[in-house]
Protein backbone atom coordinates (compact mmCIF):
# COMPACT_ATOMS: atom_id res chain seq x y z
CA UNK A 1 0.00 0.00 0.00
CA UNK A 2 2.81 2.38 0.79
CA UNK A 3 4.38 2.12 -2.62
CA UNK A 4 0.98 2.56 -4.27
CA UNK A 5 0.38 5.72 -2.27
CA UNK A 6 3.88 6.96 -3.08
CA UNK A 7 3.44 6.41 -6.79
CA UNK A 8 0.02 8.03 -6.93
CA UNK A 9 1.02 11.02 -4.83
CA UNK A 10 4.19 11.47 -6.87
CA UNK A 11 2.15 11.51 -10.07
CA UNK A 12 -0.28 13.96 -8.45
CA UNK A 13 2.45 16.38 -7.42
CA UNK A 14 4.26 15.99 -10.72
CA UNK A 15 1.15 16.70 -12.75
CA UNK A 16 0.33 19.71 -10.56
CA UNK A 17 3.82 21.06 -11.16
CA UNK A 18 3.54 20.48 -14.90
CA UNK A 19 0.17 22.23 -14.86
CA UNK A 20 1.73 25.27 -13.24
CA UNK A 21 4.68 25.52 -15.60
CA UNK A 22 3.18 24.78 -19.03
CA UNK A 23 2.78 27.86 -21.21
CA UNK A 24 0.07 26.25 -23.29
CA UNK A 25 -3.22 26.34 -21.37
CA UNK A 26 -4.49 23.16 -23.03
CA UNK A 27 -1.49 21.24 -21.75
CA UNK A 28 -2.10 22.68 -18.28
CA UNK A 29 -5.70 21.52 -18.39
CA UNK A 30 -4.70 18.02 -19.45
CA UNK A 31 -2.18 17.77 -16.61
CA UNK A 32 -4.84 18.97 -14.20
CA UNK A 33 -7.04 16.11 -15.39
CA UNK A 34 -4.23 13.69 -14.53
CA UNK A 35 -4.01 15.31 -11.11
CA UNK A 36 -7.77 14.96 -10.52
CA UNK A 37 -7.58 11.32 -11.56
CA UNK A 38 -4.86 10.75 -8.97
CA UNK A 39 -6.97 12.42 -6.30
CA UNK A 40 -9.90 10.17 -7.27
CA UNK A 41 -7.60 7.18 -6.81
CA UNK A 42 -6.58 8.47 -3.39
CA UNK A 43 -10.27 8.76 -2.47
CA UNK A 44 -10.61 5.08 -3.31
CA UNK A 45 -7.68 4.31 -1.02
CA UNK A 46 -9.38 6.39 1.68
CA UNK A 47 -12.54 4.24 1.60
CA UNK A 48 -14.57 6.85 -0.26
CA UNK A 49 -15.71 5.08 -3.43
CA UNK A 50 -18.72 7.34 -3.89
CA UNK A 51 -16.62 10.49 -3.80
CA UNK A 52 -14.10 8.92 -6.16
CA UNK A 53 -16.90 8.37 -8.63
CA UNK A 54 -18.20 11.91 -8.19
CA UNK A 55 -14.67 13.25 -8.56
CA UNK A 56 -14.25 11.53 -11.89
CA UNK A 57 -17.64 12.51 -13.27
CA UNK A 58 -17.87 16.07 -11.94
CA UNK A 59 -14.27 17.22 -11.85
CA UNK A 60 -12.40 15.37 -14.53
CA UNK A 61 -15.57 15.07 -16.55
CA UNK A 62 -17.77 18.13 -16.43
CA UNK A 63 -15.51 20.84 -15.04
CA UNK A 64 -12.40 20.04 -17.05
CA UNK A 65 -14.37 19.65 -20.26
CA UNK A 66 -15.77 23.10 -19.56
CA UNK A 67 -12.24 24.43 -19.11
CA UNK A 68 -10.95 22.87 -22.31
CA UNK A 69 -14.01 24.07 -24.16
CA UNK A 70 -13.49 27.66 -23.05
CA UNK A 71 -9.75 27.59 -23.76
CA UNK A 72 -10.32 26.34 -27.28
CA UNK A 73 -13.31 28.60 -27.86
CA UNK A 74 -11.26 31.66 -26.99
CA UNK A 75 -8.21 30.45 -28.82
CA UNK A 76 -6.41 31.38 -25.62
CA UNK A 77 -3.97 28.50 -25.62
CA UNK A 78 -0.94 30.74 -25.61
CA UNK A 79 -2.17 34.11 -24.45
CA UNK A 80 0.38 36.40 -22.99
CA UNK A 81 1.21 35.17 -19.56
CA UNK A 82 3.86 37.72 -18.75
CA UNK A 83 3.38 39.52 -15.48
CA UNK A 84 3.25 43.23 -16.16
CA UNK A 85 2.88 44.36 -12.59
CA UNK A 86 4.02 42.99 -9.24
CA UNK A 87 6.73 40.80 -10.69
CA UNK A 88 8.10 40.17 -7.21
CA UNK A 89 4.91 38.24 -6.34
CA UNK A 90 6.11 34.99 -7.88
CA UNK A 91 9.41 34.79 -6.01
CA UNK A 92 7.94 35.99 -2.72
CA UNK A 93 5.08 33.53 -3.11
CA UNK A 94 7.44 30.65 -3.70
CA UNK A 95 9.53 31.56 -0.68
CA UNK A 96 6.50 31.90 1.58
CA UNK A 97 5.07 28.62 0.27
CA UNK A 98 8.25 26.71 1.05
CA UNK A 99 8.45 28.25 4.51
CA UNK A 100 4.82 27.39 5.20
CA UNK A 101 5.35 23.85 3.98
CA UNK A 102 8.32 23.44 6.30
CA UNK A 103 6.48 24.94 9.25
CA UNK A 104 3.32 22.86 8.88
CA UNK A 105 4.33 19.68 7.12
CA UNK A 106 7.60 19.02 8.87
CA UNK A 107 6.13 18.45 12.34
CA UNK A 108 3.51 16.13 10.87
CA UNK A 109 6.11 14.19 8.92
CA UNK A 110 8.46 13.83 11.87
CA UNK A 111 5.55 12.86 14.10
CA UNK A 112 4.45 10.30 11.53
CA UNK A 113 7.86 8.67 11.34
CA UNK A 114 8.19 8.35 15.07
CA UNK A 115 4.59 7.28 15.64
CA UNK A 116 3.38 3.72 15.87
CA UNK A 117 1.56 2.31 12.83
CA UNK A 118 -1.85 3.57 11.95
CA UNK A 119 -4.80 1.77 13.47
CA UNK A 120 -8.03 1.43 11.61
CA UNK A 121 -10.53 4.10 12.57
CA UNK A 122 -13.29 3.38 15.01
CA UNK A 123 -15.67 1.65 12.67
CA UNK A 124 -19.05 0.91 14.12
CA UNK A 125 -20.53 -2.44 15.01
CA UNK A 126 -24.06 -3.07 16.17
CA UNK A 127 -25.36 -5.06 19.12
CA UNK A 128 -28.89 -5.57 20.26
CA UNK A 129 -30.48 -7.60 22.97
CA UNK A 130 -33.82 -9.36 22.63
CA UNK A 131 -35.62 -10.56 25.70
CA UNK A 132 -37.80 -13.53 24.78
CA UNK A 133 -38.44 -14.78 28.29
CA UNK A 134 -42.18 -15.20 28.75
CA UNK A 135 -42.87 -12.68 31.46
CA UNK A 136 -42.46 -13.28 35.13
CA UNK A 137 -41.12 -11.17 37.94
CA UNK A 138 -37.58 -9.91 37.92
CA UNK A 139 -36.89 -10.93 34.38
CA UNK A 140 -35.28 -7.69 33.46
CA UNK A 141 -31.86 -7.96 32.01
CA UNK A 142 -29.12 -5.45 31.89
CA UNK A 143 -26.54 -5.98 29.24
CA UNK A 144 -23.16 -4.71 30.03
CA UNK A 145 -20.25 -4.39 27.78
CA UNK A 146 -16.80 -4.47 29.16
CA UNK A 147 -14.23 -3.57 26.60
CA UNK A 148 -10.55 -4.07 26.90
CA UNK A 149 -10.18 -0.33 26.85
CA UNK A 150 -11.61 -0.15 30.34
CA UNK A 151 -9.29 -0.22 33.32
CA UNK A 152 -10.28 -3.72 34.26
CA UNK A 153 -7.97 -6.06 36.11
CA UNK A 154 -7.46 -9.42 34.46
CA UNK A 155 -8.67 -11.22 37.52
CA UNK A 156 -12.03 -9.49 37.28
CA UNK A 157 -12.58 -10.41 33.69
CA UNK A 158 -13.70 -13.76 32.40
CA UNK A 159 -14.94 -16.53 34.62
CA UNK A 160 -14.08 -14.79 37.85
CA UNK A 161 -16.45 -12.06 36.88
CA UNK A 162 -19.36 -14.43 37.18
CA UNK A 163 -19.05 -14.71 40.94
CA UNK A 164 -17.84 -11.23 41.59
CA UNK A 165 -19.65 -9.34 44.29
CA UNK A 166 -22.28 -6.81 43.37
CA UNK A 167 -20.30 -3.68 43.95
CA UNK A 168 -17.40 -4.86 41.84
CA UNK A 169 -19.07 -4.87 38.51
CA UNK A 170 -21.62 -2.15 39.24
CA UNK A 171 -18.82 0.24 38.49
CA UNK A 172 -17.95 -1.59 35.35
CA UNK A 173 -21.33 -1.13 33.79
CA UNK A 174 -20.61 1.17 30.90
CA UNK A 175 -23.52 1.43 28.58
CA UNK A 176 -26.45 -0.39 30.07
CA UNK A 177 -29.26 -1.40 27.81
CA UNK A 178 -32.36 -2.09 29.83
CA UNK A 179 -35.16 -4.12 28.38
CA UNK A 180 -38.64 -4.66 29.56
CA UNK A 181 -39.44 -7.91 31.24
CA UNK A 182 -42.87 -8.46 29.76
CA UNK A 183 -42.85 -10.69 26.74
CA UNK A 184 -40.22 -10.20 24.14
CA UNK A 185 -39.16 -6.74 23.34
CA UNK A 186 -38.18 -5.50 20.00
CA UNK A 187 -34.81 -4.00 20.53
CA UNK A 188 -32.97 -1.51 18.43
CA UNK A 189 -29.35 -1.89 17.60
CA UNK A 190 -26.83 -0.03 19.67
CA UNK A 191 -23.68 1.16 17.99
CA UNK A 192 -20.38 0.31 19.54
CA UNK A 193 -16.92 0.92 18.25
CA UNK A 194 -15.71 -2.23 16.57
CA UNK A 195 -13.28 -4.22 18.62
CA UNK A 196 -13.05 -6.81 21.35
CA UNK A 197 -15.60 -6.84 24.11
CA UNK A 198 -16.74 -8.95 26.96
CA UNK A 199 -20.49 -8.91 26.84
CA UNK A 200 -22.17 -9.70 30.13
CA UNK A 201 -25.76 -9.72 31.24
CA UNK A 202 -27.19 -9.54 34.70
CA UNK A 203 -30.74 -9.75 35.98
CA UNK A 204 -32.18 -6.45 37.07
CA UNK A 205 -32.68 -2.93 35.83
CA UNK A 206 -30.32 -0.02 35.88
CA UNK A 207 -30.50 0.55 39.62
CA UNK A 208 -29.68 -2.97 40.68
CA UNK A 209 -28.02 -5.69 38.69
CA UNK A 210 -27.38 -9.18 39.92
CA UNK A 211 -24.23 -11.11 39.29
CA UNK A 212 -23.83 -11.63 35.58
CA UNK A 213 -25.75 -14.65 34.39
CA UNK A 214 -23.92 -14.61 31.15
CA UNK A 215 -20.55 -13.47 30.03
CA UNK A 216 -18.86 -14.04 26.76
CA UNK A 217 -15.84 -12.64 25.02
CA UNK A 218 -16.91 -11.25 21.69
CA UNK A 219 -15.12 -9.82 18.76
CA UNK A 220 -17.16 -7.20 16.93
CA UNK A 221 -15.76 -6.71 13.44
CA UNK A 222 -16.56 -3.43 11.69
CA UNK A 223 -20.01 -3.17 10.13
CA UNK A 224 -21.23 -6.33 11.82
CA UNK A 225 -24.34 -6.83 13.88
CA UNK A 226 -25.03 -9.24 16.70
CA UNK A 227 -28.16 -10.22 18.55
CA UNK A 228 -28.15 -11.29 22.15
CA UNK A 229 -31.22 -13.47 22.74
CA UNK A 230 -32.57 -14.35 26.16
CA UNK A 231 -34.87 -17.35 26.01
CA UNK A 232 -36.09 -20.24 28.04
CA UNK A 233 -34.42 -23.52 27.24
CA UNK A 234 -36.00 -26.97 27.40
CA UNK A 235 -35.30 -27.21 31.12
CA UNK A 236 -37.10 -23.96 31.72
CA UNK A 237 -33.94 -22.12 32.58
CA UNK A 238 -32.83 -18.81 31.21
CA UNK A 239 -30.48 -19.34 28.32
CA UNK A 240 -28.69 -16.78 26.30
CA UNK A 241 -27.41 -17.06 22.80
CA UNK A 242 -25.26 -14.62 20.96
CA UNK A 243 -25.26 -14.77 17.20
CA UNK A 244 -24.21 -12.64 14.33
CA UNK A 245 -26.86 -11.03 12.15
CA UNK A 246 -26.56 -10.61 8.45
CA UNK A 247 -27.35 -6.96 7.86
CA UNK A 248 -26.00 -6.62 4.37
CA UNK A 249 -28.55 -5.60 1.82
CA UNK A 250 -30.70 -8.57 0.71
CA UNK A 251 -30.65 -9.71 -2.85
CA UNK A 252 -32.61 -7.60 -5.29
CA UNK A 253 -36.32 -8.28 -5.13
CA UNK A 254 -36.19 -10.25 -1.91
CA UNK A 255 -36.39 -9.66 1.80
CA UNK A 256 -34.42 -11.40 4.46
CA UNK A 257 -36.47 -13.05 7.15
CA UNK A 258 -34.82 -14.43 10.24
CA UNK A 259 -36.81 -16.73 12.46
CA UNK A 260 -35.78 -17.33 16.04
CA UNK A 261 -37.49 -19.97 18.07
CA UNK A 262 -37.81 -18.91 21.69
CA UNK A 263 -40.38 -21.50 22.72
CA UNK A 264 -38.77 -23.66 25.33
CA UNK A 265 -40.14 -27.13 24.66
CA UNK A 266 -41.03 -27.18 21.00
CA UNK A 267 -39.31 -27.57 17.73
CA UNK A 268 -40.93 -25.05 15.46
CA UNK A 269 -40.90 -24.84 11.70
CA UNK A 270 -41.94 -21.94 9.54
CA UNK A 271 -44.20 -22.85 6.64
CA UNK A 272 -45.88 -20.99 3.83
CA UNK A 273 -49.54 -21.96 3.50
CA UNK A 274 -49.96 -19.99 0.31
CA UNK A 275 -53.42 -19.72 -1.17
CA UNK A 276 -55.12 -21.14 1.89
CA UNK A 277 -54.83 -17.85 3.67
CA UNK A 278 -58.59 -17.50 4.02
CA UNK A 279 -58.89 -20.81 5.80
CA UNK A 280 -55.88 -20.45 7.99
CA UNK A 281 -56.89 -16.98 9.09
CA UNK A 282 -59.85 -18.67 10.79
CA UNK A 283 -57.40 -20.39 13.04
CA UNK A 284 -57.15 -18.42 16.23
CA UNK A 285 -54.48 -19.00 18.74
CA UNK A 286 -56.45 -21.23 21.02
CA UNK A 287 -57.90 -23.65 18.48
CA UNK A 288 -55.76 -24.48 15.55
CA UNK A 289 -56.64 -27.44 13.47
CA UNK A 290 -54.48 -29.76 11.53
CA UNK A 291 -52.10 -28.32 9.06
CA UNK A 292 -53.25 -27.71 5.55
CA UNK A 293 -50.99 -28.25 2.54
CA UNK A 294 -47.98 -26.08 2.84
CA UNK A 295 -44.46 -25.36 1.76
CA UNK A 296 -41.82 -25.62 4.42
CA UNK A 297 -39.65 -22.54 4.50
CA UNK A 298 -37.60 -23.30 7.57
CA UNK A 299 -37.28 -26.79 9.01
CA UNK A 300 -37.97 -27.37 12.68
CA UNK A 301 -35.74 -25.36 14.95
CA UNK A 302 -34.94 -26.21 18.55
CA UNK A 303 -35.34 -23.58 21.23
CA UNK A 304 -32.90 -20.73 20.87
CA UNK A 305 -31.98 -21.63 17.32
CA UNK A 306 -32.40 -19.38 14.38
CA UNK A 307 -32.55 -19.62 10.63
CA UNK A 308 -32.52 -17.06 7.88
CA UNK A 309 -34.06 -17.16 4.46
CA UNK A 310 -34.43 -14.81 1.55
CA UNK A 311 -38.07 -14.46 0.62
CA UNK A 312 -39.24 -13.17 -2.74
CA UNK A 313 -41.19 -9.94 -2.40
CA UNK A 314 -44.93 -10.43 -2.19
CA UNK A 315 -47.78 -11.34 0.14
CA UNK A 316 -47.65 -14.55 2.10
CA UNK A 317 -49.52 -16.40 4.74
CA UNK A 318 -46.97 -17.91 7.03
CA UNK A 319 -47.52 -20.27 9.90
CA UNK A 320 -45.42 -21.56 12.74
CA UNK A 321 -45.97 -25.27 13.27
CA UNK A 322 -44.57 -27.59 15.91
CA UNK A 323 -43.34 -31.11 15.36
CA UNK A 324 -46.88 -32.52 15.73
CA UNK A 325 -47.97 -30.36 12.80
CA UNK A 326 -50.06 -28.10 15.04
CA UNK A 327 -50.23 -24.49 14.00
CA UNK A 328 -48.99 -22.38 16.85
CA UNK A 329 -49.36 -19.05 15.19
CA UNK A 330 -50.28 -17.76 11.75
CA UNK A 331 -49.14 -14.61 10.10
CA UNK A 332 -51.79 -13.70 7.54
CA UNK A 333 -51.07 -11.09 4.90
CA UNK A 334 -47.42 -11.07 5.67
CA UNK A 335 -45.94 -8.62 3.22
CA UNK A 336 -42.40 -9.23 2.15
CA UNK A 337 -41.14 -5.81 1.16
CA UNK A 338 -38.19 -5.49 -1.17
CA UNK A 339 -34.92 -4.99 0.63
CA UNK A 340 -36.40 -5.35 4.10
CA UNK A 341 -34.62 -7.18 6.87
CA UNK A 342 -36.91 -8.58 9.48
CA UNK A 343 -36.60 -10.87 12.43
CA UNK A 344 -39.48 -12.82 13.94
CA UNK A 345 -39.15 -14.30 17.38
CA UNK A 346 -41.76 -16.85 18.40
CA UNK A 347 -42.43 -16.68 22.14
CA UNK A 348 -45.01 -18.23 24.42
CA UNK A 349 -46.95 -15.63 26.32
CA UNK A 350 -47.38 -16.10 30.02
CA UNK A 351 -50.85 -17.40 30.69
CA UNK A 352 -52.91 -18.98 33.38
CA UNK A 353 -51.41 -22.39 34.19
CA UNK A 354 -53.36 -25.20 32.62
CA UNK A 355 -54.96 -23.10 29.89
CA UNK A 356 -54.01 -23.24 26.25
CA UNK A 357 -50.79 -21.33 25.73
CA UNK A 358 -50.71 -18.30 23.49
CA UNK A 359 -47.88 -17.74 21.09
CA UNK A 360 -46.67 -14.47 19.76
CA UNK A 361 -44.46 -13.82 16.80
CA UNK A 362 -42.67 -10.65 17.73
CA UNK A 363 -41.20 -8.80 14.85
CA UNK A 364 -38.44 -6.32 14.68
CA UNK A 365 -36.79 -5.02 11.63
CA UNK A 366 -33.33 -3.80 10.94
CA UNK A 367 -32.07 -1.66 8.19
CA UNK A 368 -28.90 -2.74 6.54
CA UNK A 369 -25.82 -0.92 7.70
CA UNK A 370 -24.19 0.58 4.65
CA UNK A 371 -20.46 0.32 4.37
CA UNK A 372 -18.39 3.37 5.22
CA UNK A 373 -18.19 5.82 2.36
CA UNK A 374 -20.59 3.91 0.14
CA UNK A 375 -23.31 5.77 -1.76
CA UNK A 376 -25.87 4.50 0.75
CA UNK A 377 -23.92 5.80 3.73
CA UNK A 378 -23.30 9.21 2.15
CA UNK A 379 -26.87 9.40 0.89
CA UNK A 380 -28.34 8.64 4.30
CA UNK A 381 -26.37 11.43 5.93
CA UNK A 382 -26.90 13.76 2.99
CA UNK A 383 -30.65 13.45 2.78
CA UNK A 384 -31.44 13.04 6.48
CA UNK A 385 -29.07 15.29 8.37
CA UNK A 386 -28.22 17.73 5.61
CA UNK A 387 -31.50 18.19 3.75
CA UNK A 388 -31.50 21.97 4.09
CA UNK A 389 -27.95 22.44 2.75
CA UNK A 390 -28.83 20.14 -0.14
CA UNK A 391 -31.77 22.38 -0.97
CA UNK A 392 -29.61 25.50 -0.67
CA UNK A 393 -26.93 24.03 -2.91
CA UNK A 394 -29.63 23.13 -5.40
CA UNK A 395 -30.78 26.77 -5.31
CA UNK A 396 -27.18 27.88 -5.77
CA UNK A 397 -26.82 25.70 -8.83
CA UNK A 398 -30.05 27.12 -10.22
CA UNK A 399 -28.85 30.67 -9.65
CA UNK A 400 -25.52 29.81 -11.26
CA UNK A 401 -27.35 28.35 -14.23
CA UNK A 402 -29.39 31.52 -14.69
CA UNK A 403 -26.32 33.65 -14.12
CA UNK A 404 -24.38 31.85 -16.81
CA UNK A 405 -27.25 32.27 -19.25
CA UNK A 406 -27.42 36.01 -18.49
CA UNK A 407 -23.66 36.43 -18.77
CA UNK A 408 -23.39 34.44 -21.95
CA UNK A 409 -25.94 36.48 -23.87
CA UNK A 410 -23.89 38.06 -26.65
CA UNK A 411 -25.09 41.60 -26.08
CA UNK A 412 -25.35 41.50 -22.30
CA UNK A 413 -22.33 43.63 -21.59
CA UNK A 414 -22.81 45.90 -24.57
CA UNK A 415 -26.32 46.78 -23.39
CA UNK A 416 -25.12 47.51 -19.89
CA UNK A 417 -22.39 49.74 -21.25
CA UNK A 418 -24.82 51.63 -23.42
CA UNK A 419 -27.15 52.18 -20.50
CA UNK A 420 -24.30 53.50 -18.41
CA UNK A 421 -23.15 55.95 -21.07
CA UNK A 422 -26.69 57.18 -21.66
CA UNK A 423 -27.16 57.89 -17.99
CA UNK A 424 -23.97 59.90 -17.87
CA UNK A 425 -24.97 61.88 -20.94
CA UNK A 426 -28.38 62.68 -19.52
CA UNK A 427 -26.73 64.31 -16.53
CA UNK A 428 -23.79 65.98 -18.16
CA UNK A 429 -25.53 67.74 -21.07
CA UNK A 430 -27.91 69.86 -18.95
CA UNK A 431 -25.08 70.52 -16.54
CA UNK A 432 -23.02 71.99 -19.32
CA UNK A 433 -25.82 74.30 -20.41
CA UNK A 434 -26.40 75.45 -16.83
CA UNK A 435 -22.73 76.21 -16.45
CA UNK A 436 -22.74 78.12 -19.72
CA UNK A 437 -25.70 80.21 -18.65
CA UNK A 438 -24.30 81.04 -15.23
CA UNK A 439 -20.73 81.80 -16.19
CA UNK A 440 -21.53 83.39 -19.50
CA UNK A 441 -18.62 81.54 -20.97
CA UNK A 442 -19.10 79.34 -23.96
CA UNK A 443 -18.00 76.17 -22.27
CA UNK A 444 -18.73 74.07 -25.29
CA UNK A 445 -16.12 75.74 -27.43
CA UNK A 446 -12.49 76.51 -27.13
CA UNK A 447 -10.40 74.94 -24.40
CA UNK A 448 -13.37 73.82 -22.37
CA UNK A 449 -14.73 71.58 -25.05
CA UNK A 450 -11.63 69.42 -25.09
CA UNK A 451 -11.88 68.82 -21.37
CA UNK A 452 -15.52 67.79 -21.33
CA UNK A 453 -16.35 64.11 -21.25
CA UNK A 454 -17.41 62.93 -24.61
CA UNK A 455 -19.58 59.99 -25.45
CA UNK A 456 -17.78 57.31 -27.33
CA UNK A 457 -18.19 57.54 -31.09
CA UNK A 458 -19.69 54.06 -31.43
CA UNK A 459 -22.38 54.95 -28.92
CA UNK A 460 -23.31 57.96 -31.01
CA UNK A 461 -23.59 55.73 -34.03
CA UNK A 462 -25.75 53.28 -32.24
CA UNK A 463 -28.30 55.87 -31.21
Amino acid sequence: MEWLFLIVSFVAVLSAGMMLTRQNAVHSALFLIVNFGCVAFLYLMLDAPFLAMVQVTVYTGAIMVLFLFVIMLLGAETTTDQPRRMRWLGFTGTAIAIILLLVFAFPIASDMLSDEPFEAPDAQAQVRAVNAIPGGEGQIFTVMEMGFAMPLADSVRGNVLLDAADENYADLRLDALVYDAVGADAAAYTSLAAGDYTISAGVGDGSYVSAPVFSEALRLPPDSAHTLLFYQNAEGLVAISLQQDDVSAPEVGTMRLTFINAVADKEVALVDVGQYSARSSLCDNSSCGALIPHRVLIEGLPAGARATLELDAGDYTLAFVDQEQNILRTMTDFTAARGAIETRVLVREPGVPGSQPNYRAVSFSASGIPAFGSPEAVGQVLFIEYVLPVMLVGMLLLVALIGVIVLARPDALAQAERRRVNRRRRVSRPLVSVLARQTGADVLSGDYAAKLPRPRPEDGDAR
Partner: protein
Protein backbone atom coordinates in the same frame (compact mmCIF):
# COMPACT_ATOMS: atom_id res chain seq x y z
CA UNK B 1 -5.86 -2.56 3.68
CA UNK B 2 -5.59 0.73 5.54
CA UNK B 3 -1.95 0.46 6.30
CA UNK B 4 -1.36 4.13 5.63
CA UNK B 5 -2.20 6.70 8.24
CA UNK B 6 -3.79 10.03 7.59
CA UNK B 7 -0.60 12.06 7.87
CA UNK B 8 0.77 11.35 4.37
CA UNK B 9 -2.55 12.40 2.90
CA UNK B 10 -2.52 15.62 4.89
CA UNK B 11 1.02 16.38 3.76
CA UNK B 12 0.13 15.65 0.15
CA UNK B 13 -2.91 17.87 0.53
CA UNK B 14 -0.69 20.67 1.88
CA UNK B 15 1.76 20.33 -0.98
CA UNK B 16 -1.01 20.44 -3.56
CA UNK B 17 -2.63 23.40 -1.83
CA UNK B 18 0.60 25.37 -1.82
CA UNK B 19 1.17 24.53 -5.47
CA UNK B 20 -2.28 25.89 -6.20
CA UNK B 21 -1.45 29.04 -4.23
CA UNK B 22 1.75 29.45 -6.20
CA UNK B 23 -0.20 29.09 -9.40
CA UNK B 24 -2.57 31.86 -8.35
CA UNK B 25 0.37 34.10 -7.44
CA UNK B 26 2.62 33.41 -10.40
CA UNK B 27 0.44 32.86 -13.43
CA UNK B 28 -1.32 35.72 -15.16
CA UNK B 29 -3.59 33.74 -17.42
CA UNK B 30 -7.07 33.95 -15.90
CA UNK B 31 -7.95 30.39 -16.97
CA UNK B 32 -4.81 29.03 -15.34
CA UNK B 33 -5.68 31.04 -12.26
CA UNK B 34 -8.99 29.25 -12.18
CA UNK B 35 -7.35 25.89 -12.60
CA UNK B 36 -5.05 26.65 -9.68
CA UNK B 37 -8.07 27.51 -7.54
CA UNK B 38 -9.56 24.14 -8.53
CA UNK B 39 -6.32 22.48 -7.46
CA UNK B 40 -6.59 24.17 -4.06
CA UNK B 41 -10.21 23.10 -3.63
CA UNK B 42 -9.23 19.55 -4.52
CA UNK B 43 -6.42 19.44 -2.00
CA UNK B 44 -8.80 20.71 0.69
CA UNK B 45 -11.23 17.95 -0.31
CA UNK B 46 -8.46 15.38 0.01
CA UNK B 47 -7.74 16.56 3.54
CA UNK B 48 -11.46 16.39 4.40
CA UNK B 49 -11.74 12.82 3.14
CA UNK B 50 -8.61 11.81 5.04
CA UNK B 51 -10.02 13.31 8.24
CA UNK B 52 -13.37 11.66 7.61
CA UNK B 53 -11.65 8.27 7.56
CA UNK B 54 -9.64 9.17 10.63
CA UNK B 55 -12.81 9.95 12.58
CA UNK B 56 -14.92 7.24 11.04
CA UNK B 57 -17.79 9.51 10.00
CA UNK B 58 -19.20 10.34 6.61
CA UNK B 59 -19.92 13.99 7.41
CA UNK B 60 -16.62 14.90 5.79
CA UNK B 61 -17.72 13.14 2.63
CA UNK B 62 -20.92 15.16 2.61
CA UNK B 63 -18.91 18.32 2.99
CA UNK B 64 -16.69 17.36 0.08
CA UNK B 65 -19.81 16.75 -1.94
CA UNK B 66 -20.99 20.29 -1.21
CA UNK B 67 -17.58 21.73 -2.06
CA UNK B 68 -17.69 19.94 -5.41
CA UNK B 69 -21.14 21.32 -6.11
CA UNK B 70 -20.13 24.86 -5.26
CA UNK B 71 -16.95 24.46 -7.32
CA UNK B 72 -19.02 23.42 -10.32
CA UNK B 73 -21.24 26.49 -9.96
CA UNK B 74 -18.18 28.71 -9.46
CA UNK B 75 -16.43 27.36 -12.55
CA UNK B 76 -19.51 27.86 -14.69
CA UNK B 77 -19.91 31.50 -13.61
CA UNK B 78 -16.19 32.23 -13.71
CA UNK B 79 -15.68 30.85 -17.19
CA UNK B 80 -18.68 32.81 -18.45
CA UNK B 81 -17.08 35.95 -17.00
CA UNK B 82 -13.75 35.10 -18.62
CA UNK B 83 -15.44 34.61 -21.99
CA UNK B 84 -17.08 38.01 -21.66
CA UNK B 85 -13.85 39.69 -20.59
CA UNK B 86 -12.02 38.12 -23.49
CA UNK B 87 -14.69 39.38 -25.86
CA UNK B 88 -14.30 42.92 -24.53
CA UNK B 89 -10.52 43.12 -24.35
CA UNK B 90 -9.09 40.30 -26.46
CA UNK B 91 -6.97 39.34 -23.45
CA UNK B 92 -7.35 37.31 -20.32
CA UNK B 93 -4.14 38.44 -18.73
CA UNK B 94 -5.29 39.58 -15.33
CA UNK B 95 -2.72 42.36 -15.29
CA UNK B 96 -4.77 44.00 -18.01
CA UNK B 97 -7.82 44.05 -15.76
CA UNK B 98 -7.17 46.90 -13.44
CA UNK B 99 -9.96 49.33 -14.06
CA UNK B 100 -11.28 48.61 -10.57
CA UNK B 101 -8.05 49.92 -9.11
CA UNK B 102 -8.65 53.19 -7.25
Amino acid sequence: MNAIGSEPYIILSMVLFLMGTLGVLMRRNAILLFMSVELMLNSANLALVAFAREWGGVNGHVFVFFVMTVAAAEVAIGLALIVNIFRERQSINIDDLQQMQG
